[in-house]
């Protein structure tokens, strides 16, 4: 089924289980649609006026419809209890420990993704909305000791492969949505809230961040990039970026 659905490549650890679920649901849909469809076409042909000039007052008898309905209920319960609820719980409850994860802040704005790395000390510097300017889009307070080594980029999220990523997602202005199709990740960025998002990228490569919630006239071009690198390349990237801080 997966080959026919045309899903994008899967580049995170949990993508497989989501794809598996999408595929299961589509099997169920196909089965129901083909079943009903065959019945439908048959009755249209069999009971057309020309073939059956006098209708039958009683009509269909038998328990087939009850059986079908019960089967559908069972299938839905299995999907719900066996797949959907536990899979969702893993997304929103079992967050990785900050010490074991790559932790970044992603701050959305019309129409860009600001990325904030905590730097070598692992602590995010203070931000203040009154410091926000076009040079400092997240309002980072560089006088804060924690902020000294913080790195910021725009629309470029670089991550190491095979390590949990914990994103603190927020928005400066309106609701955006942090959509990573290849990672099977989507989370609205709601101003006033700090939403955690996690995943484990397991495939080195370049992917896109697609804003998935209408956010204004530039919504269509609110595109960011994710570069998933090997651990060594990731370290090199951080070191390279850190050089700009000392200048």
């Amino acid at each position: 089924m997966l080959n026919y659905l045309g899903l994008p490549i899967a580049a995170s650890e949990h993508a497989g289980e989501i794809d598996h679920m999408i595929s299961l649901v589509h099997w169920l849909m196909l089965l129901m649609f083909v079943g009903w469809g065959l019945f439908f076409i048959y009755v249209l042909f069999r009971f057309r006026k020309g073939a059956n000039p006098r209708a039958d007052y009683v009509g269909a008898k038998g328990k087939l419809s009850k059986g079908t309905e019960i089967a559908i209920v069972v299938a839905e319960v299995v999907l719900l209890v066996g797949y959907a609820i536990p899979a969702w719980a893993r997304r929103v409850q079992q967050f990785p420990a900050e010490s074991e994860a790559t932790v970044v802040r992603v701050i959305a704005e019309q129409f860009a993704w600001n990325i904030h790395y905590p730097g070598a000390d692992g602590r995010f510097g203070r931000t203040d909305i009154n410091r926000v300017s076009s040079e400092n889009p997240i309002g980072l307070d560089r006088t804060d000791p924690d902020a000294k080594d913080d790195l910021t980029t725009i629309n470029q999220l670089t991550l190491p492969v095979d390590r949990p990523v914990l994103v603190h997602l927020s928005s400066k202005d309106v609701i955006h949505s942090f959509g990573l199709f290849e990672m099977r990740v989507k989370q609205d960025a709601v101003p006033g809230l700090d939403m955690p998002v996690w995943f484990i990228p397991n495939r080195i490569g370049d992917y896109e961040i697609a804003c998935s919630q209408l956010c204004g006239l530039g919504h269509y071009r609110m595109r960011g990039f994710i570069n998933v690198k090997s651990e060594a390349d990731y370290r090199a990237f951080l070191a390279e970026e850190a050089k700009f801080l000392t200048q």
Binding site: V43, V92, Q93, F181
Partner: protein, 599 residues
């Protein structure tokens, strides 16, 4: 039953002095209190809005198929603020998108299904001389009309029409141009629906003809009854929310605006708030709006679909020449659907950040609500077994409703389960899904209803050949419009993108479908011409018919075509259930509800 009997007699007398009491043109056709005239007013107005809303989409589809090319034919009329040189601006694209949704739902489908068919057919089917509150009924139409005018005028205001989607999520909606007019328009439209729904409920409870017990009601009346409760109970929260959002825009409140917003690198303060329409003092919650909005808008889905199911049931019973299969199951299912539709709303909000408990609740209710839908669809399918099917034009549309609504319902499954929704949320899969429900689903059912009750409203029948051209052309084209959207969505193409998604590498292979969809949409537009011609011509030149051209069983077919003021010539009395077709031993294959028992 006394008051019912009195009303029936009143109708009887009314019909007699009809000739004496001539109303002037304005009272008779414009500010009419007659449910049939109001129904026809609703139907005409909403059909025009449906055409207009579809027109907006045909323009948008050009931009999506050929991004950045000048729009042919009408490009130069759109104004330099919207489309300089005929090339659409993103602001204008967003306006068209928001207004397409708003117009189709609130000015097109609901007013046609409820205001049009409900008003015209329901009192006739229950044997009432009119609605319980004729003046309220008139007011409902005119408030709707004003709401529609406000929405249309908003295109010509500075900054244009609303452009934050039909869902109008704050903070975007609060800081974007056009939204004030949208909110004012919505307040009118909601008020209109509330007036109508109260009237429907009272009429169905109080004005049923003698002998018309609840379990003898045509299924269409049941559907309208449940729909009215949905409107009555779901719309007030949105009306309140609409006023709150309006205050956020014009009075500097911040019901939906959190603290600390920074728009275009400017801190939004309460001072800029009133002047620019930006945020007030803060402290509000944008998600509150989404809850209030979807608390209406999910029941609203059933407001769109239940009357359609009602129409389809009537047409199927009539054209299969046999009773509906499982009438009681249909009635209980529609009631259960109505109830459940109030507790599924947050399945539109899985991506806003929802914990396990909440999402488990809303996933479960969403799966539960699929069951009565399955029961209804199964009952209608099984009704075909043993039938003697007449493939009339209304029947073609009603039959097509079944698989189309089936696709719409089935594609709801992966969206209703939160983990699979992660991938599909806000993609074209969603657009494909709900359009299958509403366009080839509900709108096809509405077409079935138009072809079916046109003879009752006008005394003339619509042309069958033009009807068939309309049906087959629409059926093929509409599937070519919506099926590719499911493919695009699975492939990861987001909705609401001005350039059709060409920014994204992921969409490279999916863009070709935009051209296919565009072509199909424009051809679909062409295939509405036979309908428009047929509709207008048949009013004057259609084949004249008697009271009961379809040989149907329900009460509306005992009234003259078209029925006069007061509807029935004699007091209608009901002797049996609504779908007594092909009764064994009966002389003909239909035994109307109004035909007395033979001794």
């Amino acid at each position: 039953m006394d008051n019912v009997a009195t009303l029936g007699t009143a109708a009887h007398e009314h019909a007699h002095d009809h000739a004496h009491e001539e109303l002037g043109f304005w009272r008779k056709y414009v500010f009419s209190q007659d449910h049939k005239v109001i129904g026809i007013q609703y139907a005409f107005t909403s059909l025009l809005f449906l055409l207009f809303g579809f027109g907006l989409m045909m323009v948008m589809r050009y931009q999506l198929a050929y991004p950045g090319s000048p729009i042919p034919l009408i490009g130069n009329w759109l104004g330099s603020a919207n489309a300089p040189g005929g090339i659409m601006l993103p602001e204008f694209y967003n306006q068209l998108g928001a207004m397409h949704g708003t117009i189709m739902v609130f000015l097109g489908v609901v007013p046609l299904a409820v205001g049009g068919f409900g008003n015209f057919v329901m009192p006739l089917q229950i044997g009432a001389p009119d609605m319980a509150f004729p003046k309220l009924n008139m007011m409902s139409y005119w408030v709707y009309f004003v709401g529609g005018v406000v929405m249309l005028v908003s295109f010509f205001m500075t900054g244009g029409a609303a452009q934050s989607g039909w869902t109008s999520y704050p903070p975007l909606a609060v800081i974007s141009p056009g939204q004030t007019m949208w909110l004012i328009g919505m307040i009118f439209l909601i008020t209109s629906s509330l007036l109508g729904s109260v009237n429907f409920i009272v009429t169905i409870v109080q004005l049923r003809a003698r002998g018309l017990t609840w379990m003898r009601l045509p299924f269409f009346v049941w559907a309208q009854f449940v729909t009215s409760f949905l409107l009555l109970l779901a719309f007030p929260p949105l009306e309140a929310a609409g006023v709150m959002q309006l205050m956020d825009r014009v009075a500097g409140t911040s019901f939906f605006m959190p603290s600390g917003l920074v728009v275009s690198n400017q801190v939004a303060t309460s001072l800029t708030g009133v002047a620019t329409g930006a945020v007030g003092s803060g402290g509000g919650n944008p998600l509150l709006w989404q809850h209030l909005f979807w608390f209406l808008a999910h029941p609203e889905v059933y407001v769109l679909i239940l009357p359609a199911m009602g129409i389809v049931s009537e047409v199927i019973a009539n054209n299969t020449r046999k009773p509906l299969w499982g009438y009681r199951a249909l009635v209980y299912s529609v009631g259960f659907l109505g109830f459940m539709s109030f507790i599924v709303w947050a399945h539109h909000m899985f991506m806003t950040g929802m914990g396990t408990t909440m999402s488990a609740f809303f996933q479960t209710t969403t799966m539960i609500i699929s069951i009565p839908s399955v029961v209804i669809l199964t009952a209608l399918l099984l009704s075909l077994w043993g039938a003697s099917i007449r493939f009339t034009t209304p029947m073609l549309f009603a039959l097509a409703f079944l698989p189309m609504f089936g696709i719409g319902g089935l594609t709801g499954l992966p969206l209703g389960l939160a983990p699979s929704d992660i991938h599909l949320h806000d993609t074209y899969y969603v657009i494909g899904h709900f359009h299958y429900v509403v366009a080839p689903g509900t709108i096809f059912a509405l077409f079935a209803g138009i072809y079916y009750w046109f003879p009752k409203a006008t005394g003339r029948q619509m042309n069958e050949l033009l009807g068939r051209i309309h049906f087959w052309g629409s059926f093929v084209c509409i599937n070519l419009v919506f099926a590719p959207m499911l493919i695009q969505g699975l492939g990861g193409m987001n909705r609401r993108l001005y350039d059709g998604g060409m920014q994204y590498a992921l969409n490279a292979d999916l863009l070709k479908w935009n051209v296919v969809i565009g072509m199909a949409a424009w051809t679909l537009g062409l295939f509405q011409l036979p309908f428009i011609i047929n509709f207008i011509m048949s009013i004057k030149w259609g084949k004249p018919v008697d009271n009961n051209p379809w040989e149907a069983t329900t009460l509306e077919w005992s009234a003259p075509s078209p029925p006069g003021h007061g509807n029935f010539l004699t007091e209608p009395v009901v002797y049996r259930g609504p779908y007594e077709y092909s009764v064994p031993g009966a002389a003909q294959d239909f035994t109307p509800q109004f035909e007395p028992e033979r001794a």
